[in-house]
């Protein structure tokens, strides 16, 4: 296998770290040295030649090759088996509707949320239970980090360069979770979004930080979901009024009440679509009266339609917690779901 990347020599592991940090090639954390052997192992696992074109970034026209993705994946700590997930996430991010340039350059400071579905989660040991949105396991940690290192190094998405985030959020180090499909009667997210049952897949969403909530004082679906809807209304009031993809992360304790009452993900989305909406005049209550103007009675739903809600079963077994993950900026970017490794020369995904 013939790699094309320039090679550097460093005489110690410390020297490797200093080379990468001083060159601006890291997220501030130590990296795994991307040796030719490690990079080739990733490419061989994915059966990709180094120069395979994974895609063209739509706005700036940057070519993304398998070799460069693999180098960054190794740096993030990926093993070869993690690499196809990183490739698929990047293919999804390069779809026009994801608007990768806008989402990664914006002052809004979102991160790329990656949700894993299907058998790949079990093969990789991706854990959708305890600490699902945090440091739950090796696979989700390194896959999420690889997505970010690729943005930094392949598209110059460095703070103050292309990345103009005012604040950003901790998910910009790594923001990947697996759905807890085994402990849920609901359709997995990917299947809900059209991926055939049993296929492994990746969903990417330009996402703000999780907004955690708690309600362990009821078993009624309407009351549980009202807490989620209220958190979404808070986001509409305090952050952005634009409708778009929201994700709800529902751990087991609350999930079991919903499932016991026979509520499906579609039922949840229909309820949330009705409840998660505000009047424009509410902005005056939170210091934004200047933009209410004469449209105070206008109603702003969090989603244009129920199918914009991404419901994910994930989280530890105990605790009446949940999380709302808001979109970067409404419909400016749409979540994209792609199956992993299904074919090399696929047709573009159907809209």
């Amino acid at each position: 296998m013939q790699l094309a990347s320039k090679t550097y020599e460093a005489d110690s592991i410390s020297a490797v770290q200093e080379l990468y940090h001083s060159s601006g090639w890291t997220d501030g954390l130590p990296i795994v040295p991307p040796t030719a052997d490690a990079v080739e192992a990733c490419l061989e696992w994915a059966m990709m030649p180094p120069d395979q074109l994974i895609g063209i970034e739509p706005v700036r026209g940057l070519a993304i090759t398998a070799e460069k993705l693999a180098i960054n994946a190794v740096m993030a700590g990926c093993l070869p088996m993690h690499f196809p997930v990183v490739v698929t996430a990047w293919m999804a991010m390069m779809q026009d509707e994801f608007l990768m340039h806008g989402a990664t350059a914006s002052t809004g400071g979102c991160a790329v949320l990656v949700v894993l579905n299907g058998p790949i989660r079990l093969e990789l040991g991706a854990n959708g239970t305890f600490n699902a949105l945090g440091n739950s396991d090796r696979a989700t940690a390194v896959i999420g980090r690889a997505v970010r290192l690729c943005l930094i190094n392949l598209m110059d998405v460095r703070p103050g360069v292309i990345d103009r985030s005012t604040l950003g959020h901790p998910g910009k180090f790594s923001y990947c979770l697996a759905e807890d499909e085994e402990d849920s009667s609901w359709l997995p997210l990917a299947e809900q979004r059209g991926v055939p049952k049993g296929a492994s897949s990746v969903t990417v969403m330009a996402a703000g930080a999780p907004r955690q909530l708690m309600n362990e004082w009821t078993t009624k679906p309407e009351e549980i979901l009202e807490t989620f809807a209220a958190e979404m209304r808070a986001n509409l009031r305090h952050y952005s009024i634009h409708p778009g993809n929201y994700a709800l992360i529902i751990p087991k304790q609350l999930r079991e009440h919903l499932q016991a009452a026979g509520w499906t993900k579609t039922d949840i989305a229909t309820f949330i679509h009705e409840r998660a909406r505000i009047h424009r005049r509410e902005w005056a209550e939170v210091g934004k009266g200047a933009v209410v103007r004469d449209r105070g009675d206008s109603v702003y739903p969090a989603m244009e339609s129920p199918d914009q809600l991404l419901v994910v079963a994930a989280g530890g077994p105990a605790g009446g917690f949940g999380a709302v993950i808001p979109p970067w900026l409404g419909n400016k970017s749409h979540a994209v779901t792609l199956p992993i490794g299904v074919c090399v020369d696929c047709e573009p995904p159907k809209k």
């Binding site: 005489d11 991307p34 030719a36 706005v59 960054n72 002052t107 103009r164 970017s333």
Partner: protein
Amino acid sequence: MTFRVLDPTPEKAPPAGRLAPRLDTLQGKTIGFISNGKEGTKGFFLHLDRILREEYGVARVVSRTKSNYSAPADKHIVDEIKGWDAVVSGLGD
């Protein structure tokens, strides 16, 4: 122990843009403004419009606003540019 490690960047600089030829004068010219749509562009472009016309003799200012401030300008706006002598593209942040 020597580590031989690989460059994680594209290594090739992205294609650089080329500046359009400078205008000798603004007198009698048509200037286009492309706003990204953010609030801050409104006052700035109104002010600039007045200065260009009153102090520099610009004949016409055409103001356009992108439909999505995080995406490239819409095709119909880009198509219009060839009818302008110069363009000012503004961020509102």
